[in-house]
Symmetry: C2
Subunit: 232 residues, 2 copies
DNA sequence: GTACGTCGTCTGTTATAACAGACTTCAGTC
DNA sequence: GACTGAAGTCTGTTATAACAGACGACGTAC
């Protein structure tokens, strides 16, 4: 007798992982405006599951700081304020600065070359105005650097920081890139890592983060709340 | 009546928060050895609830890095290795250094005084050899400093780092304190914060963290795994 | 004695229903 | 007409049961 179950493709994507990813993407994509509540049952209906996996995903996102708890413990998409942005920026500069520094110390020539390739790819995406693809390439570029630091906890931590940032990054980065800002810092980072200059690498990353934060802060309204530009 | 220590959240009556806290405490207390699996149903039976709240608590602890997933997605208490310790120490130095620096910049005289009081309290606990109480006082001392930085995200992040550390801290700190180590750094931190010297505050905190890490690393076996000293 | 198959039990996973609190709405009373 | 109270509906919370995969024990066949 043969083994009939041998080729069963392991679609072990747990439902709550699917829910987690979908929810995360939806927030990243700005499908839920800041302050909007996310009822479990509606989410479950949207995802086509029961509320159990959704519940878990929401709970995890809350503990990661991506979502917050409102009245009646309902999950809400947090507002991004200038105060939060400043707190986040301060932490990001410190921790991503460390990552860049360590990356420059440990970088192999091959890894530095891969970084340069990625940068060229990003430049091409800017040239062709593929801003949505650029968002992911930009993210990959940064995390490629952080992975080079060889510190898993560091990378993990930075990812949670970026998650908190999620909703704003999406609509900010394309507009930011159109101003042709940030690219200089990216070039400098790659150069510093190539040359093993950790101080320069850290300085370039910090400048990148700080400059972007200043730009984002300029989008705030009188109450310090940051809004997305109106998109038709 | 103010509550300076917002880490104590007794308000929540929700079972999963209770389960979360109990589970965390149990891990902190070293009730589960590294590598031991935590079946949901046993935990639920221990806590006197169904598996639903336990499931959520475990899931949150996993996403915070306190627990890990083993075979069959079972929750396991992670081993602490010298490699992980080094990664963690690097991040802690950077981020808690930032916190100490900012605390020194923003400290009010009253807050600095409260810190000195806490330090005196700790000294008294050492004198009377109340090492289990000292553990909590030590933790409160550090987070009192970090709260003074006025950056909620920073405090939150540091807490997750301490959580990852949890199992080792418990059995390391008392032994460490008996060697009368660390107290000097604590005194220096308070002095620096009193004088508004951010560089000195950061240096003292970094020394504190690094020295403790070196001590902990000395407890590792040949495989780089850190074990608790045998306690009868 | 060894190998293999089967069954029972354990695990996490998911769905569903029952529960409790809060808000809205609508009707009844002053 | 305004206020009050009750019911209905929404919310998150929790328990329970059904499910599927993995692992081990036990028994049978060679």
């Amino acid at each position: 007798m043969d083994k009939p179950n041998e080729l069963v493709k392991l679609e072990s994507e747990r439902l709550w992982d699917q829910a987690f990813e979908q929810l995360k993407s939806a927030i990243y994509a700005g499908r839920f405006g800041p302050g909007s509540v996310l009822p479990l049952r509606s989410l479950a209906e949207t995802f086509g599951t029961s509320i159990t996996p959704v519940r878990d995903a929401v709970s995890r996102l809350v503990s990661l700081g991506v979502l917050e708890r409102g009245a009646r413990n309902a999950a809400i998409v947090p507002f991004v304020t200038t105060a939060k942005l400043e707190s986040l920026t301060q932490v990001r500069c410190e921790i991503e600065g460390l990552a860049a520094r360590e990356a420059a110390r440990h970088a192999t020539p091959e890894a530095a070359e891969g970084l340069a390739d990625q940068l060229a790819h990003m430049k091409e995406l800017i040239r062709t105005e593929s801003f949505d693809t650029y968002l992911e390439a930009h993210r990959a570029f940064h995390f490629q650097i952080y992975a080079m630091a060889g510190n898993p906890i560091l990378s993990e931590l930075i990812e949670t920081l970026w998650l908190r940032f999620g909703p704003v990054l999406t609509f900010v980065v394309p507009a930011y890139v159109k101003l042709l800002k940030g690219t200089d810092h990216h070039i400098q980072v790659v150069g510093a890592i190539r040359g093993g200059d950790s101080a320069a690498a850290e300085a370039a990353i910090v400048s990148d983060i700080r400059e972007a934060a200043d730009y984002i802060a300029s989008l705030a309204d009188g109450g310090g709340v940051i809004h997305a530009p109106v998109t038709p």
